[in-house]
Amino acid sequence: MAEDNDSGPRSALRRKLLMGLAGLPALAMLPRGAFAAAPATAAINTTKLAVTDSEVTVGILHSVSGTMAISETGAQQAEKLAIEQINAAGGVLGRKIKINQEDGASDWPTFAEKAKKLLVNDKCAAVFGCWTSASRKAVLPVFEQYNGMLYYPTFYEGLEQSKNVIYTGQEATQQILAGLDWVHKEKGGDTFYFIGSDYIWPRTSNKIARKHIENVLKGKVVGEEYYPLGHTQFNSVINKIKLTKPKVIFTDVVGGSNVAFYKQLKAAGIDLSKQTLMTISVTEDEIDGIGGENIAGAYACMKYFQSIENENNKAFVAAFKKMWGEKTVIGDVTQAAYLGPFLWKLTAEKAGSFDVDKIAAASADIEFKGAPEGYVKVDPNHHLWSKTRVGRAKTDGQFEIVYTSPELIRPDPFPKGYQ
């Protein structure tokens, strides 16, 4: 089969030798003439990135160890899956993607340090990674200084925009507003109680939600509480909820606190089939730890659920489970991480170059029709246009999608009137 590649018998032979036998099946999957079409390295790489005639190196930068490893595993797996699929289909600009993975170790300076290593030492053409805002804030100056390209998968608080970052998750307004409108209209939500973990993302998200509730929906926020990360005792706040009787409990509690919160909510007799609860921090991943029976009935506001019915998603879920095991679940961030390599590939092909400046410039209006969440588009502000969905948690840990916004929602990282 390898001889079918008409890039000359000599180079085919050398390549065969270099890659060893393991490389053969992958090579066999290449479409005819993949190498012949590849443009010259000098033309597509003018900034000394790690691009050879057959390979382009990218970085993956997530926490494999430490407290964040729990959350970042899915994102990292999705990125590897995407890269494998791209390679199987012939790579990018005729080049196979080679992964250089680094461990951020849940420690922000380590993220900055490893980002610098990926850019300065390894000359990665793009980096897929980071999960928390703090890690992104830590690496951002590094990417700007050394002109790298970061694809960041997590939904986040917004208030940021950089030439060197493509945000494949939702910023806060995209995630929240349509969901609030829905809960207002369908569930008669006019009084809200906010509970969040005490850090920047919940506080900013709740701030935006409050403005929307008070100014647009003309509702009322009857309580707003923040607990330190890792807090596990929520009985007092549950009593306050009972006292104030809000129509909607709106939560952005994260990590281990989540588990404690829903267990105690259930134990206190707050029945989620009667009390509306909307969360923006629980995906299929989190339900694993919380236990489906503890959270069934809650509404989550995301752009992706594993249960989305479309061909792209079916293929994605099947491929993901095949690669990482039948028991894995796929949450919102995992899907967003999967988009990164594809968006980068499409952008590089549009720009006809791996140069970061050209990628950054060509990113605007890139469309990806094969996304599991459906069609997505990159805005000139480097965030994605995407839909908002509301799902209702079921006992089996999956969501039943009850609402999908009719249109793609424009990303607005610096929302006027919400700051």
Binding site: D103, W108, A112, S133, K137, A138, L159, L229, Q419
Partner: protein
């Protein structure tokens, strides 16, 4: 069962030697040569910056040698002082980076971006002093030392000892972390203070600046070692050791035990604060993850690995643990925690005096024997303290 730490220190206490003995001069020379010449020559800019970051932790370890090794006060909250120093420096740099020009898209230009996001419209009063560089440089040390003074004065005057003190400092580290994370409008919250650019107009992000900062850092570290050495060799140092071993006897001899303990603790805080400020300058941000319990305890292990009684050991220990951490976590992230855990246990059980102990007990005697074997030993030299 005798306490090996005490046994060792007994041989150290009574000593009428000059400021530094020849062996110590040699150690200093080796360290300075390694840090100032060998590393800059052989490492690229990226790795050198990394070493620079490790060396900022060595300040903390150095402080711990004085306060834990010599004075017997184990603090599990050194991250607090490291963090305070770092935050003081970061506040100055952030104000400089948030000029009206740079922040004109904000609703209130001229204040740090995270304040603007949190609807703060004027610079809070405690940020005001950090507009001035000289004042900042004073506050970098003054704030943590003052804080250390308040904590230690309250506790040592009431004779709160060893384990209690450790637990309370740990709680303080926890409180401060929650506070910084919760007050994000004033502190930058969990993201910390990021995107720092210039120091008095000098761009600290460039490679040349990082190179220069490395040397400033190394120079300061050596200065701190000398200061610590001065304390250690002075009468004060001996009182500290005496106090650690038999506090009551020192008290009955008429010394104010609390006063000496407070001094040792404040000195350690000052070292940690300098380290924190240099950390901010070299890494380019400061975040609450350096204030908490976990980094604080990790810093104790640096001192323990190096040898809790050895100033130079503290630096070597810090470098060694961090090198191991970086290289281990690159290749076997899972194994790293096992390794670190085992290191804690090994250092406590098998090598209570750390690297310095191994050097003193294993390598140095052999070396001296070799040297002696080479030349006929002059009879006059008394062989007094082999353990040193």
């Amino acid at each position: 069962m005798t306490n090996p730490v005490q046994a060792l220190s007994k041989s150290v206490t009574v000593n009428d030697s000059p400021f530094m003995k020849p062996m110590e001069w040699l150690s200093l020379l080796v360290l300075a040569g390694f840090v100032l010449v060998v590393l800059p020559v052989f490492l690229d800019g990226f790795r050198l910056n990394l070493v620079g970051k490790y060396l900022t932790y060595a300040f903390v370890a150095l402080g711990l040698v004085i306060c834990w090794g010599y004075a017997g006060i184990l603090s599990l909250g050194q991250g607090v002082f490291f963090g305070l120093g770092g935050y003081c420096m970061a506040m100055y740099l952030k104000l400089e980076a948030s000029s009206v020009e740079n922040t004109k898209i904000q609703s209130t230009p001229g204040i740090p971006d995270f304040m603007d996001w949190n609807q703060i419209t004027a610079l809070p009063w405690f940020w005001q002093p950090f507009k001035s560089l000289p004042l900042t440089l004073i506050l970098v040390v003054a704030v943590p030392v003052l804080f250390a003074l308040v904590i230690s004065a309250a506790m040592f005057k009431r004779r709160v000892g060893g384990t209690y003190f450790a637990i309370i400092t740990q709680a303080i580290a926890a409180i401060l972390t929650i506070l910084i994370v919760g007050q994000q409008g004033y502190t930058g919250g969990i993201n910390g203070i990021t995107d720092l650019r210039t120091l008095n107009g000098w761009d600290i992000r460039t490679d040349s600046a990082k190179f220069a900062l490395y040397f400033v850092n190394a120079g300061l570290l050596i200065a701190c070692i000398l200061a610590a050495q001065y304390v250690k060799r002075s009468k004060l140092g001996r009182i500290l050791v005496a106090m650690r071993d038999k506090e009551d006897r020192v008290r009955f001899s008429g010394y104010s035990v609390a006063g000496f303990k407070i001094f040792a603790f404040c000195l350690a805080a000052a070292f940690a604060a300098i380290g924190g400020a240099m950390f901010t300058l070299q890494v380019g941000f400061m975040s609450p993850s350096f204030v908490g319990i976990v980094p604080s305890i990790e810093m104790v292990i640096y001192a323990a690995v190096g040898g809790r009684l050895s100033l130079f050991g503290a630096v070597w220990g810090t470098l060694l643990v961090n090198f191991a951490k970086t290289s281990f976590s690159e290749s076997f992230p899972d194994l790293w925690l096992f390794g670190l855990g085992a290191l804690f246990i090994a250092v406590v059980l098998a090598f209570p005096n750390g690297l310095a102990g191994i050097w003193r007990e294993q390598i140095e005697p052999r070396l001296t024997r070799r040297v002696k074997a080479l030349r006929p030993a002059p009879v006059a030299i008394p062989h007094g303290t082999p353990a040193e």
